[in-house]
């Protein structure tokens, strides 16, 4: 792994630019995808951007019988190979943080793949609450 995705909740203003960036960058057939990141509010005007933590011993990877979830050793992201996914929803149910999602628009399972090394959310985050930094 050469990079790390860093979230600084203190800097998050809940502007939801990241959500938009994510949805647009994962658009298919001119339809936006479901965002893989959610700045959720835990107190008045206080937000935590929730997204996949790319766990080391990931429940989603363990739950997949088809080897569809595999770690990209360069970006550190656990990527979902849609060609191998049969939508059994095991990963969606198993992720303890609720970060494997089902996208009703494209009718497929989605999760954060760090945009293959250039996460759009971090790119567009105006406050730099989201950063993708070299180790």
């Amino acid at each position: 792994m050469k990079y790390r995705f860093v979230i600084d909740p203190v800097l998050c203003t809940g502007c939801r630019t990241c959500e938009l960036a994510c949805a647009f960058s994962h658009a298919k057939n001119l339809k936006q995808g479901r965002s893989r990141i959610y700045p959720l509010s835990h107190a008045q005007d206080k937000y935590v951007p929730i997204t996949c933590l790319q766990c080391d011993d990931a429940a989603c990877v363990k739950s997949c019988f088809f080897n569809a979830l595999r770690r990209n050793e360069i970006t550190g992201a656990i990527e979902l190979d849609l060609n191998r996914c049969v939508k059994c929803m095991a990963c969606v149910a198993a992720c303890p943080f609720g970060c494997a999602l089902f996208d009703d628009i494209h009718n497929e399972v989605v999760k954060c793949d760090l945009c293959k090394g250039d996460p759009a959310c971090a790119h567009f985050c105006p406050t730099k609450a989201l950063k993708y930094t070299k180790l």
Binding site: V92, A93, A94, C95
Partner: protein, 258 residues
């Protein structure tokens, strides 16, 4: 790495890789119904057949299913030679006689110029095209709840003894992988029914949203060592819970730094 020729173009491929992967990487549209990356190839639909030859084969060529043919050095592949196209047409024509109502078959056949089958429609023909995707996916899961029954033209996919399958966990993988959407199921009132078997869907402890079946959750706990409590709440509520606990940490951290 090996170099092969596809439709006249030199292409690099991984050794041992199946031809279909290389062909599709070249964005060449090659039809297939039984092929799916999640499961072992079986070569039953015969649509992905290509014509192969080599320079030293003296003009001789053979027809192979690209999903089941590992690349070899110096292979010369034609994905749309006249014989191959003729073969695909015949196969689609046969499919259309068997499953005239299947949309995907209609669409694929139309792409090869067939809108009406040349043959007699098979009496009681249904949309099951016997591609084994469902049985293979079930085998991959380790459930083996369904299998091909009988043989030849009478072959169907069914649970053992035609009764609700004991080993089924209701994960819907079979229904999802089915290229013709033939496998029926429904979720209603917290219950899921598939293959004549009824399953209880797990309700989120917090919001009550229905997730996967209780059997599948237990199966994942048993087979994949995932803590049972992971399945108690839904993904939405999990994120909210995570936000709450993260929030506490953030506030506490801010307090300390002050």
């Amino acid at each position: 790495m090996v170099t092969i020729q596809i439709n006249g173009k030199l292409v690099q491929a991984e050794k041992g890789e199946m031809l279909i992967a290389v062909i599709r990487r070249q964005r060449i549209d090659i039809p297939a119904l039984c092929h799916h990356d999640a499961v072992e190839p079986c070569g039953s639909c015969r649509l992905c057949m290509v014509e192969i030859t080599k320079k030293d084969w003296d003009g001789w060529s053979k027809f192979v299913t690209s999903c089941l043919y590992p690349v070899e050095p110096d292979l010369i592949v034609s994905t749309h030679s006249p014989r191959v196209v003729e073969l695909r047409k015949t196969i689609l024509d046969l499919y259309l006689a068997r499953s005239p109502k299947s949309e995907i078959i209609q669409r694929m056949a139309a792409e090869y110029g067939i809108t009406q089958t040349s043959y007699q429609e098979v009496p009681d023909g249904d949309n099951c095209i016997m591609c084994y995707a469902c049985t293979r996916v079930c085998e991959e899961l380790g459930c083996n709840a369904i299998s091909a029954v009988q043989r030849g033209h009478k072959k169907i996919i069914a649970p053992p003894l035609g009764e609700p399958p004991v080993d089924c966990v209701g994960c819907l993988s079979c229904a999802n992988i089915c290229p013709t959407h033939f496998i029926e199921w429904n979720d209603d009132n917290g219950k899921r029914t598939i293959w004549g078997k009824q399953f209880e869907l797990v309700s989120c402890k917090i919001c009550g949203k229905k997730t996967i079946t209780r059997d599948f959750a237990e199966y994942l706990v048993r087979k994949r060592n995932i803590p049972a409590n992971y399945f108690e709440i839904c993904d939405d509520c999990k994120r909210t819970e995570l936000t709450k606990s993260m929030g506490k940490i953030v506030i506490a951290a801010q307090e300390i730094s002050k």
